[in-house]
Symmetry: D2
Subunit: 476 residues, 4 copies
Amino acid sequence: MSATWRDDKFHDECGLFGIWNHPEAANVTYLGLYALQHRGQESAGIVATDGHNFHLEKAMGWVADVFGPDRLRRLPGHRAIGHVRYSTAGSSNLRNAQPITATFARGPIAIAHNGNLTNADALRKDMERDGAIFQSNSDTEVILHLLARAPAGPLEEQIPWALGQVRGAYSLVILTRDALYAVRDPYGFRPLTLGRLADSWIVASETCALDLMEARVERDIEPGELVVIGDDGLRTYRAAPAGERLQCVFEYVYFARPDSVLWGRNVHTARKELGRQLAREHPAEADIVIPVPDSGTSAALGYSEESGTPFELGLIRNHYVGRTFIAPQQITRDFGVNLKFNPVRRILEGRRVVIVDDSIVRGTTSRSLVAMVRGAGALEVHLRVSSPPIGWSCYYGIDTPTRRELIASGHTVEEIRKYLHVDSLGYLSMEGLRSCVARPDSHCYACFDGNYSEWYGEPLDKLAMERTPTRAPGRP
Amino acid sequence: MSATWRDDKFHDECGLFGIWNHPEAANVTYLGLYALQHRGQESAGIVATDGHNFHLEKAMGWVADVFGPDRLRRLPGHRAIGHVRYSTAGSSNLRNAQPITATFARGPIAIAHNGNLTNADALRKDMERDGAIFQSNSDTEVILHLLARAPAGPLEEQIPWALGQVRGAYSLVILTRDALYAVRDPYGFRPLTLGRLADSWIVASETCALDLMEARVERDIEPGELVVIGDDGLRTYRAAPAGERLQCVFEYVYFARPDSVLWGRNVHTARKELGRQLAREHPAEADIVIPVPDSGTSAALGYSEESGTPFELGLIRNHYVGRTFIAPQQITRDFGVNLKFNPVRRILEGRRVVIVDDSIVRGTTSRSLVAMVRGAGALEVHLRVSSPPIGWSCYYGIDTPTRRELIASGHTVEEIRKYLHVDSLGYLSMEGLRSCVARPDSHCYACFDGNYSEWYGEPLDKLAMERTPTRAPGRP
Amino acid sequence: MSATWRDDKFHDECGLFGIWNHPEAANVTYLGLYALQHRGQESAGIVATDGHNFHLEKAMGWVADVFGPDRLRRLPGHRAIGHVRYSTAGSSNLRNAQPITATFARGPIAIAHNGNLTNADALRKDMERDGAIFQSNSDTEVILHLLARAPAGPLEEQIPWALGQVRGAYSLVILTRDALYAVRDPYGFRPLTLGRLADSWIVASETCALDLMEARVERDIEPGELVVIGDDGLRTYRAAPAGERLQCVFEYVYFARPDSVLWGRNVHTARKELGRQLAREHPAEADIVIPVPDSGTSAALGYSEESGTPFELGLIRNHYVGRTFIAPQQITRDFGVNLKFNPVRRILEGRRVVIVDDSIVRGTTSRSLVAMVRGAGALEVHLRVSSPPIGWSCYYGIDTPTRRELIASGHTVEEIRKYLHVDSLGYLSMEGLRSCVARPDSHCYACFDGNYSEWYGEPLDKLAMERTPTRAPGRP
Amino acid sequence: MSATWRDDKFHDECGLFGIWNHPEAANVTYLGLYALQHRGQESAGIVATDGHNFHLEKAMGWVADVFGPDRLRRLPGHRAIGHVRYSTAGSSNLRNAQPITATFARGPIAIAHNGNLTNADALRKDMERDGAIFQSNSDTEVILHLLARAPAGPLEEQIPWALGQVRGAYSLVILTRDALYAVRDPYGFRPLTLGRLADSWIVASETCALDLMEARVERDIEPGELVVIGDDGLRTYRAAPAGERLQCVFEYVYFARPDSVLWGRNVHTARKELGRQLAREHPAEADIVIPVPDSGTSAALGYSEESGTPFELGLIRNHYVGRTFIAPQQITRDFGVNLKFNPVRRILEGRRVVIVDDSIVRGTTSRSLVAMVRGAGALEVHLRVSSPPIGWSCYYGIDTPTRRELIASGHTVEEIRKYLHVDSLGYLSMEGLRSCVARPDSHCYACFDGNYSEWYGEPLDKLAMERTPTRAPGRP
């Protein structure tokens, strides 16, 4: 067994939360991060301030484990921002945890970032040549340096100047002694929502964080918008000219929590619609429809409703995985997927089964699940995927493998079907996917179609892209 | 907000695992406990032996957090037993974690226990008068002392002698230098299953633990049976005469994992049948059926199938609670149930909703969930419970509140309906419950009907029962 | 380098402290243990009680590291006992830390022990045959079992009955709901002193613990005396008939702190007298006298005064060793003794040097120190030892190697001199040692002369003694 | 009792160690820091590199506690630098631990610093205005920024350029991929020594670190010298023009380890000479001379030798203080100095006693010690101090109180004598002090005479100096 078993899924890069003017700002931020835990399980951090001193607490681990009463007590003040970071197998490291803080000419500053800059390395090298020193590898530190070097002026002008230098995806919350800033990149790759709780302003990656504390959802922060929240209220600025929207469609497919309302649409109902469309595109003669829980459940329900094939629970998921399930390294067998899923033989035996999953990345987990379902006595296994084949890596803040590892990058659907050992395999079509989201032209589909955003000019040859996968997007 | 928010559910007292003759006995036990994590999240422990030295590792926390590679390396040997213990708000304490070990005339011994002895205090006092010293409050230590005091003879005779002194519920695994012993009390309150994995024998509380490692399920350990596993194979003894079976019906209702096969019946399908019967007994004019996830999901599916009312996901559950979600104590609002559940407004709004839950203990969570569903716009809320009203405490190994706290103890269904603020409330009938389990007369229904087992003779006046609720069962 | 470098010294087995009737009993006990830290650095523990509940805190490590404010707050009550345990390289283990607690017919009991029972194994086996179960390997648990099995009667009668069964060395403090008991074995091997602090009674292994808190030293607990301290004051009983005194002379040589007054005599002045006598017995033509700090300092001062040879500091000791100095295992050179001592070349160069140490066990450290002093330029090295050659193991509570490892067991002084590579070697004579202690016949000299106490009847053949060194004393 | 009892001593700010070309560079650095532990007990850190990747491990605590085998294994490579930092009561904080690392145009860099810059705040503000961001409050980060901003050229030119901007005291070790740099400020306030161990070069704050590993002491790094050690050997540069030497005389008085050879002179023998001179200046009619151990021991020995009054041990020191002795806050009495020292009544009673200490800062500890010695029966107490009265704060890297708190700042010797309640008080004269060091004009005596170095130009009014004592030196 590999040392740590991991989902064959894309992994989001972060969740953000910020609050202004609440007597228990850190406590509320803690609750907000807890609701955003699905966006990142590696590390959690909060910066709080009384308007003068900045207090930072961050650590590796889940929100509920990192923040006990003692730690929260060390975070006094009426303003706070927080961050959860995704978990990777390898380089997880406290140094990369966020928020990050520094002092510059205006005093202390804290920043939390969801996304990925595509020109961070170049900017970093430029600034190093100009005398800058860096403490981490993170893109986010590049933004801090740009802010420190911006022409004199109010920060609401310096932020647009600094962000004008960067390319890529970012939703940011920034805290200074004077204000809480929230901003999305001009294409709006990553979500960011504005809310109110009595006299407090809140920003959060998803509405589920606002729901937890029964805050009112005000509206999305717009692509390219900079919102500045201070004691004199909220002001809004253009950080970049309005342009094409490229909101990540994968938030609907997998990342966001089903109870969130994303860009005007509830995620669960969107996923059900993906499942319905999938049923229309790829019907199956079967006895039952089962999800790969929990991410496939909404789509499976839609597939069942549309097809009339009964919905069932044929795979039970163990939720007690914890942050750090380390499989004993010397154990003789590879029980990988068994740690997370167990089949219900009584349901599967003698049945023709449709399995609905939201996406396939490398195909490894799917293959194991199919074998598991067959082992439990299924007569036929028909796999249905509520998104198109993933053929391209993401450069906008999602942890994806290189193209080479994506099963749909080098293989036809029929080849994949054989590899997975299923009787039939159906992916949702691109047209089907577009038909299920409210404003189809406002999304990024690059992981499905390779159409990376126009403004990232220079085409890169494919090999280079493969070699430095997280930095160098391009169109082949 | 109360310091720690907890489910309004019964809590099981433990999961057991034991393995004989496996080169990685502790590693396999770790996997087994991981599959049994739902039976107890407070502490986890493993004892392993090479037949000579005994090594014990136990700690507070989840299995995956307690046992890392270092700890497992400290558990060499071909035989092991393990234990997970349930979580209580108050007295959680490493001293009460299991397995417990001691040395007696035969050498080292380790024991792990699922259940509760009703005469432990009396036995303890007797033995103290006779010179015994005790290190903990646990019932299990009483069993160790009885074993040490049994008349000379082989342990397979001493175990029945010792267990002949105790009253109550117990499934036990015991490890000595020579053998692994597994035994259930004569009524069979708690489950215990026998399996094989190549040349190894395994015992486990539920079949899901065997499934994880792809071990073969052999059969249940019988009530009153003592199984002795040694290097010369498996022998079986009667630890007590066969009598009435009182297998805990609540294992079907809530405790067991849906993928387990319990006493010959798959739990998920049993729960679906409870839901179907509930639909027959208490139909509702409604638009959707939603479960309280995850424990109500199987029954809700059954209810939906039987009634034809569509199954939906109207409540989303946050699984990242962690072992120790401590709500900030000073926070101004009580967000209790919000930490675990969030409604999907888009699904609930304008709908007549049937909520299916498996049981109601105090009613506090149900009341909050109903308010949450109404707040999300539901027109009507009809609560359906896939078990009868709980009117009695359990004395057989389940952590239950005193009768006074059980909402169904002092209130009619109509009173409960009003308290919960639902449009209609339907509990499954006793007859309905009995009709859904394979052999209705082989179960204990005491928490529903107060019929505690015959052999616990002396009726106790109600006040006494209330004062010492976990020790003094009785028939009113 | 061996993984952990250790002194070539005997190691004491424990320090005891107890206090009755102080509003901050645990805090004062903490201070007392801190003063007794030299008697044991492995683990520290405190039990405190308000007369009803018993609270126990113990952990591996130094007193000042184990007990922070949080831990002390968990120890409320007006009565407390505490214990520090010596550090061994191998089997250090929290299970063996003290005090140990249990519940028996009289309620909770806590006990702390300095010493070693020579018949513990036999007693343990007897009681196991009679149905007892044991949680640890410690002698002290045997005493608890004996107390639990004593004939009915007040505890001040049960304690003498129980201690009547055991052989060996013990100073004990025992805490129950009703009283604090302090007792020394009939030979008085280990010290125990009685003190007062305002309205509180205190017992402690050495007077330095009383000095720290400015308590008044009342008197020694007598060999065979049982002191019972309760709310009605102090009573004294004979736990055993008065007999020969065998107070450990090594307490004067090395164990006790120089500022303590032990059995009527200040330790520093006793050690100086040993040094003076050593100078009379083994003068040396030398330029300077240097101690092996700190244990040889007092004797070196005496040697210097008597001989007129100037006292100097030629070896500087690093006191920052910490509990757990682990030498990097892979390091190429063995810097062993360098970690603790560094020579002062300017002092040693060109000089004829007398090194004074208190004792030599295996000889390994001495050999390294001599080489170090020579390496720093000493012309001659004359080693003087302020105690006789150690030829026998101790069975009365001191961690000693087997006879085989004692350099003086199988070698003549001349052979040792050659091994250590010194120009001359002088040990204090037995007569010299006896002449320096107040009442020479009241001490045990067994490690020097092999005269183990009479009452341990059965002579054991030498090989057996060597094989089970800590349990089986005897006269060859 | 104050929460944490601390010595009434100056506290040094750091110890440095660096090694180039050793297969176990981190392990050797660990040993070196262990020998330098007396220079800082707050935190310890090591950076190691294989010439490409840099690995940093640092934590609060003692060297032996911070660095276990696991941590050292995470520090591969043939080059390393390390740092120990002094302990302050208040702002101890991992963020200020060293070495600090960053990446700049040349790649990764690590730096460790002993000293204090007097113009750090001004430089910092300048660089912030110019776009720099800072992660800590430490002076050392200022140096890193200056290096990053130095004009293009080799680092051996950039380092002098950067250090040309700063004022104050610094000994530095710097590690890059290409070389190990060691440099002292032009006045040479803090020590730094060069050594060899087979094929490795070593730099260390004191020779005792070289002795531990039996490395050869080569020579001191000169004031203003920059030594560059690379794979092609050692080169030396002038970082600043040679000028007046201001080597800290307090290193002889108290900071350095007695076995070190500092600026050509062994510290123990220098201290003995201070004691001899003190005896000549301030003889006393007394029976014994006792040191305040361990810092007063060398001088007391010199005093005894010169005066002929016998040397004795009248105060015993407890070395088990640990890093974090936290006195129980609620305890009723203040046992402050008792935690560290205990008098030997038998030695002191009826005697006229000379106590020798190395220095007096606030006078609080001295006062308590005097009372302790009197309480133990001393007839007379004569306090002798082997350095002049401390009337001025230090701005060159030593943690000193403000002038207001220095007892000798506002009081005459007679007033101090009365406050300390001694029969006579004698401080070493400035002339006496100068007469005992090899080259009297090469030292800084500013804490004794207020003659801060010339180059720090602007005189500051006294009040300002008092308010911001660690930044604003000046001549009154």
